[in-house]
């Protein structure tokens, strides 16, 4: 009964209600879209940061990720296959890493060499997809090498040129051998472009005198955001002495970026809703003031103040729910459209690298449930807070004075 009265009251001044409603719908739906685009950027960044080099999950000897100790190797050659057989793991790539001196014709630079199996690495990271010259490493890599563009420029080498790599091998000897550049990659991440070289795993194992051994196994999983959970489950099944790291452990700055995104999302929502809330407050105050006489009569014929307050609150609640439904629906539709089609901005801006990830020059949305339920939930809260003051005022009216007022 009270609900029906409240609903009817809402539509007595159709224009005012529609205006308020549209403000709420527009603000919430645009907010959902904006947060979706934000999430899309974050997703691009995360993908570039993790899929470019680290992978989503990495298994290595405990402590290896802290000091990259040459001797902290995994000898179990069946482990990559075992990991790949898990349903949540898309692919696994064993890797061996060495730091040393890389020389072109005259110039030498320190470099990081990553020994990989090209076929498996391709399924885990996108490093091989960023070629700007030459060809990717063949599956039997031999002494072929993919070299970062900055490093190639500094050493003055191009595809087909010879390189010499020198490092301390695991048996204490001076490991040194020739490499031949097959291709040059450019990722946009200056750290990798200026210092990373991909070589065949068998070549590096022989140079370092670490036969059959690797330092880590990088993995791609089906849901990057669930990597931490998968890591926990995996950790329980791994042989002792091995640890599993998710991208958040390997790229703490990326985790920070995700956390700061959560905070900035909250701030944007609060600012926008403070404005929307004032609008709603204004509408309802006007509505209550206009109906002072009506409330006076209602109370004079026996409606209790509590009921009057409940009625006004029900009006705001109904308006809020309506706005929430419409705003959520429109917001979801726009997010979906943006996700499906997106807007390419590569003509206007260049990629930006931040926190180890690259933000691509495109507007593209990603669906994240929190981007919908949080604006909607908060909209309702704001609505109720904005409705409470007018409702209290209505409930406090003195019937006699209210009826006399004109």
């Amino acid at each position: 009964m009270l609900i029906a009265i409240a609903y009817r009251n809402l539509w007595r001044n159709r224009r005012r209600t529609l205006l308020t409603l549209s403000a709420m719908v527009v603000s919430s739906s645009l907010l959902i879209l904006a947060l979706g685009v934000f999430s899309g950027m974050l997703e691009d960044m995360l993908a570039s940061a993790t899929e470019q080099y680290h992978g989503h999950l990495v298994v290595s000897k405990s402590g290896y990720q802290d000091n990259h100790d040459l001797y902290a190797t995994i000898r179990d050659e069946k482990l990559p296959v075992m990991l790949e057989n898990r349903p949540e793991v898309v692919a696994a790539s064993p890797r061996l890493r060495a730091y040393g001196l890389l020389s072109g014709r005259d110039i030498s630079r320190p470099a990081e060499l990553l020994g990989i199996d090209p076929e498996r690495e391709e399924k885990v990271t996108t490093l091989m997809a960023h070629l700007v010259a030459g060809r990717p490493l063949p599956s039997a890599a031999g002494n072929g090498a993919l070299i970062g563009s900055g490093l190639a420029r500094r050493l003055g080498v191009g595809p087909g040129d010879q390189l010499v790599f020198v490092t301390g091998a695991a048996d204490g000897s001076i490991g040194n051998d020739l490499l031949r550049v097959t291709g040059i990659f450019s990722t946009g991440d200056s750290g990798h472009d200026n210092g990373l070289v991909l070589v065949g795993l068998p070549w590096l194992q022989q140079l370092l005198v670490l036969p059959g051994q690797v330092h880590e196994i990088a993995m791609r999983v089906n849901d990057p955001m669930a990597a931490a959970g998968i890591a926990d489950r995996l950790a329980a099944e791994l042989p002792p002495g091995l640890d599993v790291f998710d991208w958040g452990d390997l790229l703490p700055e990326m985790r920070e970026a995700v956390a700061s995104f959560d905070v900035s999302r909250m701030i944007v929502v609060l600012i926008l809703y403070a404005a929307t809330g004032l609008g709603i407050l204004n509408t309802f105050f006007m509505a209550v003031m206009e109906r002072t006489r009506e409330f006076g009569i209602l109370m004079a014929i026996g409606m209790r103040p509590r009921t009057v307050r409940a009625m006004v609150l029900l009006e705001t609640l109904q308006l809020g729910l309506l706005a929430l439904l419409l705003g959520g629906a429109i917001g979801l539709l726009m997010t979906w459209l943006m996700q499906r089609f997106g807007i390419d901005l590569s003509g206007q801006i260049t990629p930006v690298t931040y926190a180890g990830g690259t933000i691509l020059p495109r507007l593209h949305a990603a669906f994240d449930p929190v981007n919908v339920w949080m604006p909607c939930g908060l909209l309702l809260v704001v609505c109720m807070v904005a409705g409470y003051l007018p409702a209290r005022r209505a409930a406090k009216l003195q019937p006699v004075a209210a009826i006399r007022e004109e």
């Binding site: 005259d106 110039i107 030498s108 320190p110 020198v166 204490g172 000897s173 001076i174």
Partner: protein
């Protein structure tokens, strides 16, 4: 008046070092294996947690700026050589027949897999120029000399402490401290022998203190001074000859 000041300075200068020129003393220690020129055959034994190995090397030096060392044994690494001229270091790798100049960023790296760095080869020759020295203590047997970097010198160590035996003027131990004044490396000397009128400790043990149990022992088996060497001997071409 001006002459008086100069005279005063002249008279005071020798007194400053307690009658002992510390800079000259340290210079003598740092250059002990070089002389005007030298040839040597040495054995380097490196022990780490993971491996131990022994290398036989031939070495030549001229003054403090020219130095060439070449591996004889093990056979696998025969011909691997290092040339130092001034502040620059080259390595020659016979397996790939390439000469590699060590870039500044790699000067802190290990030399031939030992606990000696490329910087040690280069900067040791400049310690007496880059540091100021004070006598910390003195007893009947030895002096303890502290070297602190000159304000504008590009140095690696925050402090170096020399223990030098008085009578024979040979180092007993040298301690190296980092910027935080933590002792990170200790080199001790023994097997002192008189060669060409000078006392030389033929064995040098390098202990990296952050890696307990690891050490590099460099032992001179033959050492001759004042050989007939010219700067032309220390050439990139000669580096490759094996």
């Amino acid at each position: 008046m001006r002459y008086f000041v100069i005279l005063l300075l002249l008279f005071c200068a020798p007194a400053y070092g307690f009658g002992l020129d510390l800079r000259q003393l340290v210079r003598g220690v740092e250059d002990q294996y070089m002389g005007a020129s030298s040839t040597a055959r040495m054995t380097m034994r490196v022990s780490t947690v993971h491996w131990q190995r022994s290398t036989e090397m031939d070495a030549w030096s001229l003054g403090r700026n020219h130095f060439l060392v070449r591996i004889r044994e093990p056979a696998r690494e025969r011909g691997v050589a290092t040339l130092k001229v001034g502040r620059e270091v080259w390595n020659y790798l016979p397996k790939v027949d390439r000469t590699i100049k060590i870039p500044p960023s790699m000067m802190g790296g290990a030399w031939m897999g030992s606990h000696i760095t490329n910087n040690d080869l280069v900067k040791a020759a400049h310690v007496d120029e880059d540091y100021d020295f004070t006598l910390l203590s003195e007893d009947e047997i030895s002096w303890t000399v502290e070297g602190t970097p000159k304000p504008d010198a590009a140095v690696i160590w925050g402090k170096i402490i020399y223990h030098i035996e008085k009578q024979r003027r040979v180092p007993q131990q040298i301690s190296y401290f980092d910027e935080d004044m933590i002792e990170v490396r200790r080199i001790s000397f023994d097997r002192v022998k008189k060669i060409d009128g000078r006392f030389i400790p033929l064995r040098m043990s390098v202990h990296p203190l952050e890696k307990p149990g690891e050490k590099t022992i460099l032992e001179y088996r033959e050492l001759d001074f004042n050989m007939d060497l010219t700067p032309a001997f220390f050439s990139l071409r000669n580096l490759k000859r094996h």
